[in-house]
Every structure is written in C-alpha cells, then in structure tokens.
Symmetry: C2
Subunit: 421 residues, 2 copies
C-alpha cells in the first residue's frame, strides 16, 4: 500500500539521482507566521531525508478574501486581467516569506512567480488553462542545491499577461510541475489528513483511505469530496503523477492517489460522498420531439452553466419532464435560460428546487459486482428517504434526495456497505 519509493533514508547521493518530491501547501497550511515556520521545518526535514524538493504555495489564509473585499470597496467593475494581477499578490507574499523561514533553517530557497517558473497559460483570465511548463529555471535552481518555492494558482499568458488558474489552481500548479520535472511524487498538504470513506463530520467512524485510484478519486471529487479539485486529479492521471494527500497539521501519511493496480483486491465500495451545493431545475411538459433536449442543454452550455445530473422520464401523452442539477450559484441564470427557451419550444413551466442534495457511492470494484445499486436503493427506502433522481457511471451511483435527509443517507450507506472502521 502506498508508494514509499521516494522516501529513501538519508544517503550520500548526487543531487541528480535524488528522488524529487513536489510539495503543495494550501492557504490554511501557511495561514500565519507559526504555520509558515512549521512548513519550513517540514521542507527542511524532507531535504535531510535525501530528497530534492520543489514547493508550491497558496496565498496565506484569508488573503484572497481580503483582496476581493478591497476590490469591491473600490469599484463595482473588475476587469478579469486586473483581478488576476490583484490576486497573484497573495502567493507572492507567502512564497517570499516561506523562503525567509527556510533561510533561517539554512535551506537555500528561491521564490518563483508563475511566470518565472515557466507556467505558460492561455489568455482566459481568472480561469486560465496551462499550455506548457518550461521548467528550465527550476531545474537550474535544483541543480544548484536550492529549493524552488513556486507561486501556485498563477501563470503567464501567451500575451505576456499575468493569469490565474481558477478553482483548484494551486493543486494544478503542483501536479503540472511534478509532471514537467518528472517528480517521484506530488504531496498535497491540506488541513485534513487524507481522503475518507465519508465526510468525518457526518460519519465519525469514517476511515482514512490509504490508497485510491485516479478513477475513484475523479468520481469522489466530482460527487462532492472536496479534498482535491477534479481538474488536478485529471491532470495527475493524464500525466501519471502519484499524489499523496496529507495533513500539514499532523504530518502523518495520508492518502495516495495513483494508478489502479490490477493485482489488488478491490473494495466494492470505497467511499460515500455527498454534495449540497447543487439545485434542481425541472422543465415540465417538454414536447416529445427530437432535438429539443439538445437545444436546451446547448443554450445552458452557451451560458457557461455546468449541468451535472440529467434525468428525462419516458414520454407519456406526448410530453416529458426534463430535470437536471446545476451549482446553486448558477441557478438564477439557468432559470432565465430555461424560461426563455420553454416559451419557444412550447414547454410548460420551469420549476426550481434548491433543497436537494446528492449522495453517491464510489468504488472501482463496482464494475464487477452487480447488485450494488439495489442495496443502495433499499438502504435509503428502509429509512423512508425518497430518491428523486438517479445517475450512474461505471464506478459511481448517485441519488438525489431531500437535503435535510442527506446526512442520514450518508450514515446509513456507510454502515450498509461496511465502511465503518
């Protein structure tokens, strides 16, 4: 279990043959001066254990919120280019200060902005995509025995403007650097001790998972597990970068996210996840004609709305109801789009429901075990929890239920599939 490969004991190896680990520290991990020093200690310790280290840092604690508040106080208009310029000040502070803390421990560190680290992005301000990582300066610093400390979340566009990567950006920076530098592992330090079989605040007996596959992690992230951003997991899978999600407060080993090993005995169900951030939209009495669903979801996509679960019932009396879920933040826009279209296509009213929640089972073993969904539905039925929508992937089953019943649903499923520790 796990990938101990790079955690070799101290030995007199040449720099070029030392294992390389990328360590990413989120905002709470570097939230204040004391946390900064704790992180520096850990980086120094990792080096003493015989590893080369590249560090990626987020902005300290609530810095980003403070900067956004300032911007809001000054102006109601916030051009995306300037928003990026503003927000990138946050990592600048944390990386410089971390380098100082490392200097005090006699570790020669060197900070790099996204631009200096060679993170080249497209020109989509506030949600840029990484196009290329030119790691020359980082490789040079490593060859000189230094610890490069890189600003997460930011890059420089092909137009030479400062960009940010949007949600989950710092994790993506870390994974991209690990891929570009051929790192042996990418450690994501956060304020939880790993990926759990369910949210421990809801299920006290939830277990930390020592290992999950990329596929499982993708479905966990997509269905409400908040530890890693979906995007960084996709990047890690595509570039075969083993991730190690762990706590910067306990420094204990956490959860490895890695390739599925065919030889391994797979748990049927790995985790129960839930998500209360979505709302449901229903367009009723949609005429049962080809192409209408396509028009609806094309219009939503054009409005940059991320539609999640979609359910369409079998047509009766020549019309059908179409339901789907969207992030609550997109609900207003979604209703607007649907109402505009409902008139055009001769559908009935458009209903919104923001008191829903999703509960999901995720597990690579599901592929070969039939009957999981039946057990899931029965478990919920036994507790009188009504299922409003169902969607499935090869390794995930998701049910939409009333949001005030979701915690009970998670607890019941966690026990039913014998995930309790």
């Amino acid at each position: 279990m796990g990938r101990p490969g790079w955690r070799v004991p101290p030995q007199p190896v040449a720099s070029s043959t030392m294992p390389l680990v990328v360590q990413k520290y989120g905002g709470t991990s570097v939230g204040d001066a004391e946390r900064m020093r704790a992180v520096a200690d850990h980086v120094a310790r990792t080096r003493r254990q015989g590893n080369d280290v590249v560090v990626v840092v987020s902005a300290m604690g609530k810095t980003t919120d403070d900067l956004l508040r300032l911007a809001g106080d000054v102006s109601s208009v916030q051009p995306p280019r300037e928003l990026d310029m503003l927000l990138t000040a946050g990592e600048r502070v944390s990386m410089a200060v971390l380098c100082m803390a490392l200097a005090e421990l006699d570790v020669e560190a060197m900070s790099f902005t996204g631009s200096q680290a060679g993170i080249i992005t497209d020109t989509s301000h506030t949600r840029a995509k990484i196009l290329e990582v030119r790691g020359d300066r980082l490789r040079e610093a490593l060859a000189q025995g230094r610890v490069p400390v890189v600003a997460g979340f930011q890059g420089v566009s092909t137009e030479r403007d400062v960009t940010t990567l949007g949600r989950g950006g710092s994790d993506t920076t870390a994974v991209a650097l690990a891929a570009a530098l051929g790192a042996d592992a990418c450690e994501i330090y956060t304020d939880v001790t790993g990926v759990f079989s369910a949210d421990p605040r809801i299920v006290p007996r939830a277990r930390r998972l020592p290992r999950v596959s990329f596929e499982e992690m993708l479905d966990i992230a997509a269905s409400g597990g908040r530890v890693l951003a979906l995007r960084s997991v996709e990047f890690a899978r595509n570039h075969q970068v083993p991730l190690h999600v762990r706590s910067s407060f306990t420094w204990e080993p956490g959860t490895w996210v890695d390739e599925e090993e065919p030889s391994m005995e797979q748990a049927v169900v790995t985790a129960v996840t839930h998500d209360t951030s979505e709302a449901k939209v229903t367009v009723v009495r949609v005429p049962d004609k080809p192409g209408l669903a396509a028009r609806l979801f094309r219009a939503l996509a054009d409005a940059q709305i991320n539609v999640d679960t979609i359910v369409q019932n079998t047509s009766v009396h020549g019309t059908t109801d179409i339901s789907f879920t969207v992030p609550k933040t997109d609900l207003r826009n979604s209703l607007q789009v649907c109402r505009d279209l409902a008139g055009e296509i001769g559908a009935g009213e458009v209903a919104a429901d923001d008191a829903i929640a999703k509960v999901s089972l995720v597990g690579a073993g599901m592929r070969s075990y039939p009957g999981i969904s039946a057990t899931m539905f029965q478990t919920l039925a036994d507790r009188g929890i009504n299922i409003e929508m169902i969607s499935t992937s090869t390794i995930r089953i998701t049910c939409v239920v009333r949001s005030d019943r979701v915690e009970e649903a998670v607890q019941a499923l966690h026990a039913a599939f014998e995930l309790d520790s």
Copy 2:
C-alpha cells in the same frame, strides 16, 4: 511661472500628438478605497483635458510596513531577493485596484509590473539601479488609447529576478518613465502641496515655492527637505524632465522643479531646510600624517556608510580632530569602523553625539551674493545658538547645531532672509 505647455484645453487631437503626462501617486495618495477613487477621478479628468496619461503607483498606505512586520514574525533572516519579492506585492495590489476604479469611470486602464513596463535594473536587491527602460509595451498601450498603470519602486534585473529600487524608488520610476517616453511633464502627487520655503510645521508663515531649479531642489533634498528623494531629482535633471510636485488631497498646482532660466530674477535664498536624522562622530587626536583621513573615509565607504558633512580642524601639536555626520541608523556601524581604525593609526578616542541637527540655506542667487553666510552666522549668534560645524556648496550653507535649538534656528533664519509670506 510654471510650465503650462502640456495642460492644453480639450481638443480633437490624434493620440500621437497629445501631450503626455506621467502621474505618480505615493502611498498616502492611494491609502484607502476612497483615495483610490479620488485618484481615478483625477486621472480621468486629466485625460478629458486632452492629455495622454501614464500612472505610477506606490503600495497603499502602510502595506509595506505590514509586509515587513509579517516577514519579521516569520524569520530573522531575510534574503534581499526574497525581501524584494515580498515588497513588490504591495504595488501589485494598488495598481490592479486603481485599474478597476478607472474601469468604473470608463477609462480603459492596464496595469504593468516593473518587469512588464520594461524597467531593467542591475542585480542589487533592495537598492537596484535602473539600467534601461524598454517602453514598448507602454507605448503600445498608449497607442491603443489606454492608460498604463505602472508599479513604482520595482524592476526586473538582468538576471530576470524581481528587484526594488530602494528609498524614493517610486519617484525614480516615474521620472525614468517620463524620460524614456519623452513625457511633457512628470507630476509627483503627495500629501503636501509642494516645496516650501521651510517646513510649515515649524514655520507657519513658510511659503509654497511655485518654482525651484533642479540645482536648488537637489540641495533642498540633500539638506533635509523630504518632499522629493535626491535620487529622483538627479535623474530628472540629467534627463531634463520637468517635475511638478503637488497634492493629491487639494489637486492645486504645486511646485515646478525645472531647469534654471538665466533670464529670471533669482531669489538670494530660496529655502531654509533642516535635518535631525544625523549624528556626529568625532575621532580625536588623529596624527597629522598624509593619507590617514583617506583611510578613515575609505573604511567607512567600504562599510556602505553615507558620510555627510566632514570637518577637519587645522592641526595643532601634530594631531587633529576629524568630525563628520552620518545617518543615525549608521551610527553604531560607524563607531565600530572608527574604533577599529583609531587603534591602527594611533588616534585617540572616538566620540558619538546624536543630539545634533543641521540647518541650511539654499538659493541659486547665493552664488552672486556675498555676505549670506555672515548674515546666517550672525542670526544664529544673536539667539545664542552655537554653530558646531559648517559646510558649504555653491548654493547652500549648512550649520550643525544642537538638535533642541534647530526649530528656533529655522524660524530665525526664515525671518532674517525675509522668506515669511
């Protein structure tokens, strides 16, 4: 009086023929959200009056102090490269936020870091010198009808590292850009209304000077006038950039700093300045042999100590006393250097005195008026103020007096030379 050349009334001129003004706003000028909006208003107004504008901003209010406090909390070791990375976060915030405020006024602004603005410096972190200004991106932005908003105080070194320009750095950025872009004027906005004939807190009847020459301004800055950094005035003089020092709180015309006009009637004395930031060091009984003074001041220079006024008395009994002033912040180092050397060269003890102050008269007319120094010394003598050291340049006379008498000395001289309004 003044240089009204660029302040033409609104007229439909092509962008390329519009006058160009560089406006620099210091930390108090952009100290909070309300001040930011006031500055944006003024930039928009300057544009409406038919000027192209390039803005240079400092970090907001106490940002720099806050960042330094954070660094001190985290680490006692602050590598200069990382200190520069840290401090440059300050301007990044103010320039982005100012661009947002301008966007709200429908002025298309675009922020530029020192690096993006093409401010190329040497590699001396925390006190870098500008080597070159590559103004291409700013020219391009101007040609597109935009207002470039540039981070003051910062640049990028020939090694591609982020640098800061040290004290007075934002003024220097503004002057350097004005020179590189061939601006018609460089406006330095601050929290005072201009350059005064004396510090108005000490001399309530001090007058705002509508115009001073570069030479006078250099001596005013060097002798304690804190409105402009010496360095930026030197840069302006060397590149013939007319400066306009004025208030961002009243927006009234302030003081023009420009070439001396030979045709002008020159005031004999322009200003009385004072400086309480220095201390006096005396090395007593220095053997009167050639080369000893040179060794002493070479040793001080090697220790990066800025020696100001130097006085050596005529030798009696084969030894002499050498006195000089240094910034109080350098006093401890200076004593160390002098005491080490005094033993080597056979001198006596080294005495320190930090209760001194300098009072100076500055005026371009002094060159042709004899007797100014006599009047100065008599004025001080009449009030029983003892003169401890004297030094002169062609347009300045400086006396070192007890620091508790300096305000009285300034008031007396301001009245004696009929500078009161």
